[in-house]
Symmetry: C2
Subunit: 277 residues, 2 copies
């Protein structure tokens, strides 16, 4: 997916929502749990219910791997379903991969070629040659961890280096010399809007993927204030608050309602910021 296509879709849908597919088989409504490939069936319902409000879907690989081979099959089917029915929506494999070059090349093959994802989240700790193999695919994206939404982000990401920068700032500064904003984004956790603003000043034209709104307590308005740029430049992810909006037979409608609510909040923010009329 090209950056221009992503922006066009945001403006068309009046939304910068990404729906996280962290599908937990134990949280799927009871009546669906008995279906064959319940995870895929649930995802299909969620995707159909929320596609009108979302510009991205973000399957979290851990929730599939933990079900073994059948989980991997659900993941393959989920991405194939999105690519077939909603090819305009960005699929971000939330996989947090990263290893030495010959291994990262394999992960890139797994996610970009085998699974046909548009983007993958990558951990920066191993540096340039662990990230580079993911950058060799046209119209595919790396979403590098900058600042994450969890409390552990204080342990290393927020440490100060002897050059005066925080580690997360150094990661962003270095990474923007590795790749342009047409193929690199950053994860910037919703729970720290003041740090999102610092990252925005370092990387003015890059997209940020912002998790942590919803179940993790991040505030959409604060995130937008800190992160928006003239091309919108943020994708805000919500997972649990949409997927499990209801645990009953109406779960898909409840998910649609929740996604629409976020879309409407986003729309008013975009209008307020003169990014939409």
């Amino acid at each position: 997916m090209k950056k221009t296509e992503l922006i066009a879709q945001i403006l068309k849908k009046r939304s910068f929502l990404c729906v996280g597919l962290d599908t937990d088989i134990e949280k799927i409504p009871a009546h669906q749990q008995k279906l064959p490939d319940a995870v895929f069936q649930f995802n299909k319902n969620i995707i159909d219910a929320t596609a009108a409000y979302a510009v991205g879907f973000k399957p979290n690989t851990a929730f599939y791997e933990s079900e073994g081979t059948s989980g991997w099959i659900s993941l393959e089917k989920t991405i194939a379903y999105i690519k077939k029915h909603y090819p305009e929506i960005m699929v971000i494999a939330d996989a947090k991969r990263g290893d030495i070059g010959n291994t990262s090349r394999r992960y890139a093959k797994a996610f970009f070629e085998q699974l046909q994802a548009d983007a993958i989240t990558v951990a920066p700790y191993m540096g340039l040659d662990s990230v580079q193999p993911f950058l060799g695919f046209e119209n595919k994206w790396v979403v590098l961890l900058g600042l994450t939404s969890n409390s552990g982000s204080a342990d290393f990401q927020q440490l100060k280096l002897d050059n005066g920068r925080f580690l997360y700032e150094e990661v962003v500064s270095k990474a923007i010399s590795w790749a342009g904003s047409h193929q690199l984004m950053f994860v910037t956790g919703a729970t720290k809007p003041e740090m999102i603003a610092r990252i925005r000043s370092l990387a003015p034209d890059y997209f940020f993927l912002v998790p942590g709104v919803g179940a993790q307590g991040g505030d959409l308005n604060a995130v937008a204030k800190a992160g928006l740029n003239s091309e919108v430049g943020i994708l805000v992810n919500a997972s649990r608050s949409i997927l499990y909006a209801s645990s009953d037979i109406d779960f898909a409608e409840a998910a649609a309602t929740e996604a629409q609510k976020l879309q409407q909040e986003m729309e008013s923010i975009l209008i307020r910021k003169n990014l939409l009329k």
Copy 2:
């Protein structure tokens, strides 16, 4: 696996070798490529050929994921084969995972419960709550990235913090307050023995998993000098130099010869250091 069992096995086999199962279907000997589930068949041959010299097997998940569902099945079968026939050998899933708590819990389930690995490599960037869920399993291990063997380790790991420590030293210092040496190890790349020595001084009684000997150019003697402690305390991994020692019909024998050569070098090191008679 308990630490005492790991040490007992090292002393019994007179070896601290870990064989990396980075099985690349394109590098498997031609006559084997046609077999159904060629990757598993190749692994089985390598495992049988090298088990006498190895105390660990380390499947690298990228090489399996890149083959899609069939790759995941090969990975499951490979680990199950090791656990059945060589239960005394440690299985380290080289997966470099790490995410927010609810997601790391899923990865722990995937690798410790579904796949039955004894250990998993974990990336530290997201801090304590991303590592903690892996620590809740009895006799299972976290192998945290400290200092990796690749050139990109200079980008962030080797940056100096304003407290005077390098980032990799901070990772090790913090992590040893999170877990004891009975369930936590560190990855310390073979290509930087002087830094392995610094990590050893910070974490005297922890095991180190040392990749980078062989194809990546690390020197076994230098690694041993820097890393050994009174309980041996290091596992040295070799992957490509063993797996692809021959690309012909004799690949398993060639792998055995290569593994035995490393075992013998390790044995003389252990004798020289008075850790064996």
